[in-house]
């Protein structure tokens, strides 16, 4: 009976699920938990998973010990995919799926594009910048200028992310653009307060997901990934700060 379990396929399904979740912004604890649960649902009760933000090790014990390692180099944020993998893991747990079906579904999810179109995201950043301006006690007549600065900064970030491997450089340039655009509006006399415009426009670049995930990972005892995500968030914040400062230097 035990010999008939497709061990390799089970490991592949677990690793693929873990990889998709890790790449798209899930917490490490959730990734490990999901992988162990999927393995248990397929009949491999004795499995271990160790994941860090840059790689996953997964191993099965018991009659046929086996383990595999997978490297995760590219990370982005697509919580829709995390949700989809989560629901697949639920239906595996309730024994509605075979390993082959699950693998096919996961492959489809991995290949699927982003949930929202590019212009939708830029528009969201555009609107969010203006709203943050109001939340931080800005004036309504600065609203549109903050929107434009934030939208331009964020579209720069999206474009440079595709172009460059170095993420922090993209964030640096994006915040530099935010600073320069805001200064331009203030210089030509249409914008009122430079500070509030910049604060509002910079908010879409803030690494909010990393901060919350780092905190959640640390609570769950995943010190390695918690600290490395915290360092990641800190570097991003530094890049944003450096970009804004560079804009000031140009002035």
């Amino acid at each position: 009976m035990d010999d008939q379990l497709p061990y390799n396929e089970i490991i592949d399904v677990c690793l693929l699920a873990g990889k998709i979740m890790l790449q798209n912004g899930a917490e490490t604890s959730r990734v490990e938990d999901t992988m162990v649960r999927i393995a248990a649902a397929f009949g491999c009760g004795d499995s271990h998973s160790f994941s860090t933000p840059t790689g996953i090790i997964f191993s099965l014990d018991g009659m046929h010990p086996a383990s595999k390692l997978i490297r995760v180099s590219q990370r982005s944020t697509d919580l829709h995919k995390v949700t989809l993998v989560n629901s697949i893991s639920r239906s595996i747990s309730s024994k509605e799926m075979t390993p082959e079906e699950a693998y096919l579904r996961l492959k489809q999810i991995e290949k699927a594009g982003m949930g929202y179109p590019m212009w939708g995201q830029v528009f969201a950043a555009f609107i969010a910048s203006g709203c943050f301006l109001i939340m931080f006690q800005g004036q309504w007549n600065d609203f549109i200028w903050s929107c434009i600065a934030g939208g331009m900064g964020f579209s720069c970030l999206l474009y440079l992310h595709r172009l460059l491997e170095v993420r922090f450089f993209a964030e640096f340039i994006a915040s530099l653009v935010v600073g320069l655009v805001a200064m331009f509006f203030v210089q030509i006399g249409v914008g009122g307060h430079l500070d509030t415009i910049i604060i509002g426009a910079v908010m879409p670049l803030v690494p909010g997901l990393l901060i919350t995930n780092a905190a959640r990972d640390l609570i769950a005892g995943h010190l390695v990934s918690g600290l490395s995500k915290g360092a990641d968030a800190g570097l991003t914040a530094l890049a944003i700060g450096a970009g804004i400062s560079a804009a000031f230097v140009f002035l």
Binding site: I127, G208, A214, R216
Partner: protein, 149 residues
Amino acid sequence: MMFAQLITSFIASAAFGVIFNVPKNSLFQCGFVGMLGWLLYYSLVENEINSIIATLASAFIVAVISQYFAKRYKTPITIFNVSGIIPLVPGGLSYDAMKHFVGNDFYVAVQLAAKVFMLAGAIAMGLIFAEVMNQLVTKYNRRKLRLGS
């Protein structure tokens, strides 16, 4: 003024949901969580309560509501947490700190940076408290179930 704050915090949180690609049917809840967190923070700060305490309390409330939503809609909790936390992130203060650093005014800059650090810590502590409380409640319920049966 309060009304404008409510509307803008709702839109900003939901827009952040779009940036992070959350599923379309949770966008409303994302905005709602962000709005509640910001409402609490804003009213506490308006009543002259220390912003660190205000951030701690709002982060806690955001995390509790996120846990409720995550259970109710069967989605990962991160989705709601992130959009709720974003308005609390001390963006303005860290900008101020950075500006003073660039202006070589290190006395003020270090003070501001320390405050930013404290606020970030308050957000993390709020999340931690909520998580601990959630675990306690779950354990209590499980024990009650076991004793009952």
